[in-house]
């Protein structure tokens, strides 16, 4: 994985799938390998990019589902995308 920005001091890199509702941050990298998604890592990565999840994009978790806080509605720059936390685990944010 290539990384564009070094980790910001005081903030830890973590998967978006594990973040709470209301979380705001930036995408640090996409790491689809070893995820539990039904998709192959390469394919999942492409689909995430096609929905605008690229390094540097601003993200915010706007809403979450009632059961298991899943799925989540994420603001990505100026569009909103719904996805399950399982797939969002591949999006690393700071």
């Amino acid at each position: 994985m290539f990384r564009e920005s070094p980790p910001v001091a005081g903030r830890v890199r973590k998967p978006l799938g594990g973040a709470e509702a209301g979380f705001r941050g930036r995408i640090d990298s996409i790491d689809a390998a070893g995820g539990s998604s039904g998709l192959a890592p390469e394919e999942l990565e492409r689909r995430l990019i096609e929905l605008g999840f690229v390094e540097g994009a601003a993200v915010e978790i706007l809403h979450e589902g009632i059961i298991g806080h899943d799925p989540i509605a994420v603001r990505v720059d100026n569009s909103t995308v719904a996805l399950r936390r399982r797939e969002a685990m591949s999006i690393l944010v700071i």
């Binding site: 998604s37 039904g38 998709l39 192959a40 390469e42 999942l44 990565e45 492409r46 689909r47 995430l48 990019i49 096609e50 929905l51 605008g52 690229v54 390094e55 706007l62 809403h63 979450e64 589902g65 009632i66 059961i67 298991g68 899943d70 799925p71 509605a73 603001r75 720059d77 100026n78 569009s79 909103t80 995308v81 719904a82 996805l83 399950r84 399982r86 797939e87």
Partner: protein
């Protein structure tokens, strides 16, 4: 390939991301001059139309399924890719592409534009919904954008009169400019190419577009309620309740009107024509057959009115978001909720509305289980048998036993639908990865009446044409079975008892005897294939009860004397599962485009019906109800 083909017309393809307003633009360009059909061999809808230029020239335009990329991930997106690249044999290769983008949401659209540009076909970008963009304070420098992308860019407001004048003018000069030969080339982009393209798109937006600081506040405020874990679900449930009520009750008056109109027509034919085969064919075959198709139209129109409004509003994606986890447990997509709910009224509009599910696999599972939902046609059968056999006693002081049985029948339908979808997932698609739930939640937009009406008209036409032909031919077949051969002279039994239907009924009697059915039931089940409630009338005919006001009550009394409770319960359970509806099977055949899925549905439902009725009968007999 030349730019001028069939007598001065040139061919264009509309491409765009989902929610780009592509269909609204297509409607504005072509008006009612559009044709909806399926691409050969697949259930993907093909929408094509003609744009007439003021100069008299015309452009044939095809509206391709929305996609974020040419990397096709569904049959719909494969069509888009193949048409764009000119790889679809049945489709004329487009001379140029029109890419439609929502001006308020350019980020993903511009990445698609960059990918399309690489294909090498002449390309024009239409920035749709410019009115909403400027109202929100989004400023787009069109010339700068055009220069950065290296293609012509034109703005449009598809839903406003005159909103596409600029586009028409640009299309005129662009389409007939003589682009010469174009060769389409495309290779699936790697993740790093996709990243690079998105960065390029972001850089272009940064240079040519000025965005307001805050996102759309109306959408944000609405979502605070509509996507709220508790309030959102409550709103969804109320909405679904209203929809269910509408399909169930609002449709009743027009349906009764249609029914009585066809009854009157049948009576008129009965009175004018001489008694005999022709009379029977016109009255029971043709008029009743056409009537049985048209009678579904009010339900279909009401259901699709709701679906089109909610889709245009941008709510459907939210409903899928709210229902995803709940439906996902049974292996269903969040969007399967509305088709399944509609199936409580009638499986036919329900199955037709599975078109809102993009993924083929999810759509097939939903179609497969939709007929298990307790449709309104089962109600006459249920109420007849329940009122004849179940005592109207109170259970635990407040619950009525008859009501409890009715509730149990509904619950059995729902539970079996969820179970079957779970099993289908394990059986048919165990090795395929489950498609992830990932979709864009578009900003809310007010639906336009013209667009909704055009959509309704398209649905109505599609239903009458597609289902009409198949349902009608099945109705004629069932009439034939119930009428041939004619009873011999001096026959004393009802005419149906001499027909092929009776022969079939008696032939299958040994097979159905183990579930407690007598041959009278078996004979009634044959015309009952036309529609479930027809079985009630057919039972009356078989037991030679004349029609009239009291008929249903009389049938009930007769049955109570003729059948054991075990037989009655077995028939109730049979009706939960049995594929006793030719129209539903015809629609499944049409919607899946294959006899295979119709056969699978018929087979699994028949098996379930037999096994469940068998178990019910024997348990009831063992408990002393034989």
């Amino acid at each position: 390939m030349t730019i001028m083909t069939d007598a001065g017309a040139c061919h264009a393809a509309l491409v765009g991301t989902p929610n780009s307003g592509k269909t609204a633009l297509f409607n504005a360009l072509t008006g009612s001059r559009q044709k909806v059909a399926n691409y050969p061999g697949v259930t993907v809808e093909r929408k094509a139309g003609v744009v007439h230029m003021p100069t008299g020239q015309c452009i044939r335009i095809v509206d391709l399924p929305g996609t974020y990329s040419l990397r096709a991930r569904s049959p719909d997106e494969e069509i888009t890719r193949d048409v764009v690249l000119g790889n679809l044999a049945s489709e004329t290769t487009p001379d140029f592409l029109v890419c439609v983008a929502d001006a308020t949401n350019l980020r993903l659209a511009l990445r698609l534009v960059l990918e399309l540009k690489r294909v090498g076909r002449p390309l024009i970008l239409v920035l749709n919904m410019m009115d909403i963009a400027s109202r929100r304070g989004i400023e787009i420098d069109v010339d700068k954008l055009s220069a950065a992308l290296g293609i012509p860019v034109v703005t449009a407001v598809a839903v406003r009169k005159g909103g596409i004048d600029g586009l028409m003018h640009k299309l005129q000069t662009f389409a007939f400019a003589g682009h010469g030969q174009t060769l389409a080339t495309w290779t699936s982009p790697s993740t790093s190419e996709l990243r690079a393209a998105q960065r390029e798109a972001d850089a272009i937006i940064a240079s040519a577009v000025k965005l307001p600081a805050a996102p759309d506040t109306l959408t944000t405020r609405l979502d605070a309620v509509l996507l709220h874990p508790v309030a959102g679900l409550a709103v969804l449930l109320v909405l679904l309740f209203v929809m269910f009520q509408a399909v169930f009750t609002w449709a009743q008056p027009p349906m009764q009107l249609i029914q009585s109109a066809f009854d009157a027509l049948g009576q008129a034919a009965h009175d004018t024509l001489p008694s005999g085969l022709l009379q029977s064919f016109i009255e029971h075959g043709v008029i009743a057959g056409v009537g049985s198709v048209i009678v579904f139209l009010p339900q279909i129109l009401i259901l699709f009115l709701f679906i089109l409004l909610l889709e245009d509003l941008g709510y459907m994606a939210r409903a899928a978001f709210l229902m995803d986890k709940i439906m996902g447990g049974a292996g269903l997509h969040g969007r399967a909720f509305i088709p399944l709910l509609s199936s409580f009224a009638c499986a036919i509009p329900g199955i037709m509305s599975t078109r809102v599910i993009d993924n083929k696999r999810d759509r097939l599972t939903t179609i497969l289980v939709a007929p298990l939902m307790t449709c309104s046609a089962r109600i006459p059968v249920y109420t007849l048998i329940i009122s004849a056999f179940i005592p109207s006693t109170r259970v635990w002081g407040l619950l009525n036993e008859q009501g409890l049985v009715m509730f149990g029948l509904y619950a059995a339908g729902i539970v079996s639908a969820l179970t079957v979808s779970f099993v289908a997932k394990q059986l048919f698609w165990r090795d395929e990865p489950s498609p992830p739930f990932m979709l864009e939640l578009p900003d809310y937009k007010l639906p336009r009446s013209k667009s909704v009406l055009l959509g309704l008209l398209t649905r109505a036409k599609a239903f009458l044409k597609r289902a009409g032909t198949t349902i009608f031919s099945m109705m004629v077949l069932i009439w034939f079975l119930a009428s041939f051969p004619r009873p011999p002279a001096g026959a004393t039994d009802p005419a149906i008892n001499y027909s092929l239907a009776a022969k079939i009924g008696k032939f299958i009697a040994p097979a159905l005897a183990p579930v407690g059915f007598n041959w009278h039931i078996d004979v009634a089940l044959v015309p009952g294939m036309a529609a479930r409630e027809v079985a009630v009338a057919a039972l009356g005919t078989v037991y030679s009860i004349e029609g009239g006001e009291e008929a249903a009550h009389q049938i009930g009394q007769t049955l109570a004397h003729q059948w054991s409770v075990a037989t009655a319960l077995a028939l109730l359970v049979w009706y939960i599962f049995a594929p006793q509806c030719a129209s539903t099977l015809a629609v499944i055949r049409r919607e899946t485009g294959s006899w295979k899925w119709m056969a699978v549905t018929f087979g699994y439902m028949l098996t379930l019906a037999y096994v469940a009725a068998f178990a019910t009968y024997h348990i009831a007999v063992a408990l002393g109800a034989g």
